[in-house]
Amino acid sequence: MPIARDNAATLFAEGGAGTLRLIFYLALSITVMVVDHHAHYLRALRQMANLVVEPAYRLAALPADVARATRTAVVTQDQLASENRELREQLLLAQARLNRLDALLAQNQRLKGLLDAQHNLGLSVQFARLVDVDLDPFRHRIVLDVGAAQGAQVGQPVIDAHGVMGQLVEVLPNTSVAMLITDPTHAIPVVVERTGLRTIAYGSGATDTLELRDIPRSADIHGGDKLLTSGLGGRFPAGFPVGVVGEVSTDSKGMFIAATARPSAALDRSGEVLLLQEQQQPYGPPAPQEMIGPPAELAGPAPLENQAATGRPPPALSRAAQAGGTTAGASGGMRETSPKTSGQQQPMPPAQGTP
């Protein structure tokens, strides 16, 4: 039985719950949802409301931070010593491996030089810390403590010490939200390290499983194979570990092989992560050559007949070259920004459409 209260019935403090009101608010929320589903203005709204949203995130993360700090404070020296020893051993191992890699890297550079390849192995990263906030246990999102002010951009890959974790889908001024590779709407192009087989690893919705669907039956893949990013799609650079293949079976129709993989990254444990900076894309046309010669201002305005007579038109040509250079630069800039804009329009990686 509804409560009849006809006096103080203002919009936000009405006592009753009439069916008409219910229908009104339901219709309103459905409208809001439909519009947001198509226009994605929640992100824009969150950008505007960041003065409230960011402090709320930090405040909610406070207890977890305090708990971690207390754990560090009360940990015994014994434990610290053993942890220290362990880390030192790991460092030694990593150092040894790095030394060997250095030689390989030098060799690789030499060979690349011979081949005249532009592909760059250099890697610039940015350190980020997880803000311990739970957005929804059934959605695979993490909040990081770097944002637009620290140079984060939508679409940047997020990795940890063991492998790829995901990519940034939303950047606020001082925080950012990343989608993990296990999110059901995420897909990452991978290559099987042993055979070079290219495929796509889809998120499964469980933090410890990736799905590899639609692999041809003739393909050579079995449990224990390592998956690396293939670099196709341009979002994730090539060569980062993604996961290890677990179970391999035929799919329900019997036409393809379906496999599961376990992510390499510690998706549920990492406290610190690395953001990969945007890198020069290794494909596309080379940059236009710089015009060599005296600057155009020095030459001064020369009469056209003169140029025609000498057959060497330095000012006009250099100006034209400059114009060409700027247009080429603009198109180059467009090529660089296009993945970003597409990333903003839809959170899914562009790789999904280009298997």
């Binding site: 409208t31 739970d134 059934f138």
Partner: protein, 162 residues
């Protein structure tokens, strides 16, 4: 006058704490067990002071929740409006239920809330959540008596102190 102000403090304080609890992380293994705190607070205030917790406020709280936590703007608004509507409709009965029975009614409410969520996510094309999605309403039911007594105590103590 003073009492009113204190009441307001408890009211807005409980909402604030619910938002923070909703954001606060649990250990990964315990994450599916987190109850829908925002829903519990809305249900409590709808039962106790319906003149304050109307559908409009539930809607606004849902929008705020979406701003903080959500993926689709309006999802929580819809959930909270449905929750508040059912509670306000059956308020006169719910109020006089013994605590255990109230908790059972809340379980039904929260399960319904999960169904609404599932519907919204299904329509927006999200993947179906795993089976552990259905654990949270049970935890919400178990948490309800403690939650109810705690908030009641806070509210009534101030009335007594006045």
């Amino acid at each position: 006058m003073n009492r009113m102000r204190l009441q307001n403090w408890v009211f807005s304080g409980s909402l604030l704490v619910a938002f923070l609890l909703q954001l606060m992380p649990l250990p990964p293994a315990a994450e599916p067990f987190k109850p829908y705190w925002l829903g519990l607070v809305v249900v409590y205030w709808a039962i106790e002071t319906p003149e304050r917790m109307g559908l409009g406020l539930a809607f606004l709280l849902g929008l705020a929740g979406d701003l903080l936590i959500g993926e689709l703007f309006g999802e929580q608004a819809m959930r909270l409006v449905v929750l508040a509507f059912i509670v306000l409709r059956f308020r006169s009965r719910l109020r006089f239920f013994p605590l255990g029975q109230q908790a059972l009614a809340l379980l039904a409410l929260l399960l319904n809330d999960r169904v609404v969520t599932l519907m919204v996510r299904g329509f927006s094309g999200e993947a179906m959540p795993p089976a552990s999605f259905w654990i949270a309403p049970l935890v919400g039911m178990l948490a309800w008596p403690v939650f109810y007594v705690l908030l009641d105590n806070l509210r009534l103590r101030q009335r007594a102190a006045d």
